[in-house]
Assembly symmetry: D2
Homo-oligomer: 362 residues x 4
């Protein structure tokens, strides 16, 4: 299926960094689901680069919805969002065609597309495409919120500097969603910005860890094999550029715990089954247990840096030294945060529609 993700709610992505449009088709949104263009704009704004900690390529992201919506409601047929690429500068990228940027997709694109790939600005591999993912995810996320399901993501770590732990998850989700830089601890936020600026000044880049929490998911969603909710979330997350790992609940740390420490004790509270701890991140046996879903992802430092690097020309098959020029992000983890929210919304919308039918998200 490649560029389409999902079964009952399916999203198809298209476009290249320097093409006319990027966009997304969202198929299966419940008829009558609320479509709020301002909500989509707000999420796109959270992804947009701003200030010195991001690339100087700024897009207005003035999307338009060309199908599937009448007024402010989904019709139930495919919703198509188009986002024009305005700030296109092809010239900077001409050198990239045959000289691979290390740890970019330049060489693997060549292996797969045999020279026919659009290599302008990363083409279809560009982080630019995540704007379309965000637009699609915004539509799903609002539908989830209307069912009482809320998603929030903070920078758990950036450039080695950690945010505080999640505490009151409901409040923390609300707090990060209102922040431009999604860090709960303002002191940590300041240090992260400084570290990003420092890396930028050195022509270098930094990475980080994103932590997402979801509240309000009904129990009983997900499959034992193979479509565990963890599998589905991991599938969509690991297609986000620069994302190199994912862990649920305590994740890798749980592998150092004993069963007696890791198991989440269960209790009845207010007539519901809850767990005292949430080391399993709200999912047991692949299926939601009603506790918050918690996961973290590893975002690598942006591969575009302005330092000289050893590389190859894959046409001439010769060794080269490359010193990229142009625009770049000294970090993308702060921008990726809303991409993660969006991707999470898509996968949850799909899982819920599969479980409860195509009208559930209305």
């Amino acid at each position: 299926m490649r560029n389409t993700f999902g079964t009952s709610v399916a999203v198809t992505l298209f476009g290249e960094s320097h093409g006319e449009y990027i966009g997304a088709v969202i198929d299966g949104m419940a008829p009558g689901a609320k479509i709020d263009r301002a909500y989509v704009s707000n999420m796109l704004a959270q992804r947009r680069p701003e200030g010195k900690i991001s690339t100087s390529r700024v897009e207005k992201d003035e999307f338009k919805i060309v199908s599937g919506v009448i007024g402010e409601c989904a019709t139930g047929t495919p919703i198509t969002v188009l986002i024009p690429n305005e700030n296109v500068k092809s010239a900077d990228y001409s050198e990239m065609r045959t000289v691979a940027r290390p740890s970019h997709a330049d060489y693997t694109a060549e292996c797969k597309y045999h020279g026919f790939q659009d290599s302008r600005g990363g083409g279809h591999f560009s982080g630019r495409i995540t704007a379309a993912l965000v637009a699609a995810g915004a539509i799903c996320r609002l539908a989830l919120e209307n069912k009482g399901i809320y998603i929030g993501t903070h920078l758990k770590k950036c450039a080695g500097i950690s945010d505080r732990e999640l505490d009151d998850i409901v409040a923390d989700i609300k707090a990060v969603n209102e922040k431009r830089l999604a860090v709960l601890d303002d002191g940590a936020a300041k240090k992260m910005e400084e570290a990003i600026l420092l890396a930028a000044s050195e022509g270098d880049s930094v990475g980080g860890v994103l932590e997402t929490a979801v509240i309000g998911m009904p129990e009983g969603v997900g499959e034992p094999w193979f479509d565990t909710l963890e599998s589905m979330i991991a599938h969509i997350m690991l297609s986000i550029p620069a994302l190199k790992g994912i862990e649920f609940g305590r994740g890798f740390a749980i592998s150092d715990m004993k069963g007696s420490e890791a198991n989440d004790p269960m209790r009845i509270k207010d007539g519901r089954v809850v767990t005292i701890t949430n080391n399993n991140g709200g999912i047991n046996g692949g299926i939601t247990n009603g506790m918050p879903i918690i996961f973290r992802t590893a975002i690598k430092p942006t591969p575009t840096i302005f330092k000289p690097q050893e590389t190859v020309n894959f046409k001439t098959m010769t060794n080269e030294l490359i010193t990229p020029k142009g625009r770049h992000d000294p970090a993308i983890v702060h921008r990726a945060r809303v991409v993660q929210d969006a991707a999470c919304a898509i996968v949850l919308a799909d899982a819920l529609a599969q479980r409860f039918g195509t009208d559930f998200l209305k």
Copy 2:
């Protein structure tokens, strides 16, 4: 699709811990692919519990192949493997029906299946089902080996004790595949066994980290969106019971690195493009670059322990104290190692058949 994974090579799993058979249907194996029953048996033997570090439930796993194979060759139509459940003891599990074992799927199964689930020994959620996955994976893995693609997995960590780093990957894969306990450093292996036995003696359990390496994968396999090879691998891995995280290349550690450290310099070597380091684990932009694929997974400590735990009866909605009895694994990470090999083989077989056509694995 639920219990089916894959597109061009698709595996369907079925069965319960205490049913008559568990099994798998492998659809799309290339006609003429070699089927070696001894190879399958060997992989099943690697998964089988042995000695004091595993459960006392031992199954012979005397599988039979009832379709899709003539002599020693795949016909190209669905291959069905049946594995009888022999060592069935239903009585030990009767208490589990309504009193949830913490961090097991008992409660989530109730939420999803409303009391109709087979709760004997974990039913369809049981690790027992991984025997069918291993059988299916064995068939795929041999086909990969016949194309020069080799997979190996070692216990990177168990009970907090670390194995040595991968060094000569070709030799290390060969070494671990011949070992019963897949640890490269024999001293570490001994300590891990001791730690497992200690946990067992305390009625407790331990977890660990598995690291998988793949050599010989052709360049250019995987998709930019959404079916990156990382997405597909993560999808199948995170459906393995007890697996709570996955990371590729340097994984979470890469998020602390600078771009200038994380980027893999590229060189021409023996007429091929290689990278000097492999921090990206053989995948860029979702597509293989010809370097070894490297990933690690987090395996939680077995949730079944013999210590008293707070839990609930989800029928009566009352708080309970539970002290499980029966058979259990004080660790499953050493048994899961071959499950990870198998799952990896399935996803790679599928990706290759999609890329190069249905006859590729012949």
Copy 3:
């Protein structure tokens, strides 16, 4: 996906004519759905050859369900049905390996499987596999009946002899489902049997047309693109061996009508929207309108005949004359009737579970 059909309720088929088992995995049946082994047996009996109008190979079809069912209820996890092949005579078929039987799949199997196909008795292409389809369909059909949805199929035509038109559809479905030879007009039934026997005596075979009616389907099921209910029904039907066409409502005859004749006038009746005629067969724009679903399929005469035929040896690439021996059906249309019922039940179960969620069929 090949041997798997469906999304929310998915059926995987496996097996060969002369292998140990044929079988089916039904994934996604609602937890708590009634499983009645006698109901399955009855449908298998309707498919079984009987008397002189069918092959002399008779199988007891003593199926067993080895997963996914406890007592008389679906657990919600994959249901696996195994049917042993008992009456296996491999010798009769040895000549078929390289000399193609005209209008069989012998030559196309060679093109696809390059000599590795199981050619004993048609292998995976054999009509024998439809027994597994019938078992899977029986489980779906009973679930549909418990929701008030009934399916029936009659021989609209056999050997050129026509049954009467459907009249009172509720009564007609009931009537044909109780008949061994599914013909509404007993006089026509007698003539059909005579025609089949005559063809058999000449070593020849005959075909026919099957007409299926479904009552009780809710309105609003199906998709405008591409998964119209007609598309989904046609997809599964045209995978039944020997089926060469399908038409809905008036089908090909509607192409000779004027719009003013073909359009179905609409009325309110008993508080529901109905149509006076049903030329569109209960589906408009790919979606059910609440009227009976009506479709007909063309079944070709069995290609196995005992007359000399011109053919080729595809190994030696020489012309040959073939005069098949062994067992054969002088017609299969009367046996295919229950296969059509079963396939119809599978596709409707899937469409309903997609539409209304995975618990709908409970």
Copy 4:
């Protein structure tokens, strides 16, 4: 998957009759496949209404390709085609919202979308959407032609008037593809036009039968279960609006033949296996045998007519009399011919890419 068809080459459709754009995303086209905008334009022109035998709504169909193509080559990533809707007249259709047009999708859309559907001009159900399908199919069809695979469709029948039989298929495909009205016999063409004009003058409509032939398909393409090539072709065809039946080879007529008449004798000719007759339409056991693929479809008379008809208001649940006004097609069979070509190209492109890998169509 709904609005997406295909696995290795997948097409997603979107848009409504009176929205801003309709369009298609073609995912999986081989990198380097030739993209000829004039070829696409020509196919769109064949679909466009012309003269008195079609609607007076004429669209220029000035499509643009906004992703996936550089110069005249596919990049290998999703190709997006946008076609603006220019000739929009919403007013004529306002009455349709609650008063159902008989045998249209108005009522079933209400059942599925609960009042949120776009009912302007048929919305997403409109034949207008087939323009996007044609554009997608044009891209696939040119890729097929570059591999020596040619598709052609003629009006086998219209308003009860028959075209001549296919004779020299290679020449006939060439001939019809150059004709505006795809009828081989010019005398029959004239009569068909007259019959359409007569129906138009009466405010009525007529239907017909389309016959498609494909030459050059490799042997061995298709699956035995469930994705026979017949299943896949039927699936996509039966999602075309107004199409109510499909038959392969001799189709329904084969059900009246004896096996000795229906079986296609096989011979070696010029070193290849051929059949003397082609009653099976080039497919045995779901797999191509190298002979031309032949199928026919039943197209119903356009449901929009200008005669008074009994219908209902599904909001007020009252009986109504309707006499539609506006633009309409007195027949669509002559326009549907290129839609059928396009749909056929999509399904064959997908089947070939699954079989031979993603680079095959380059």
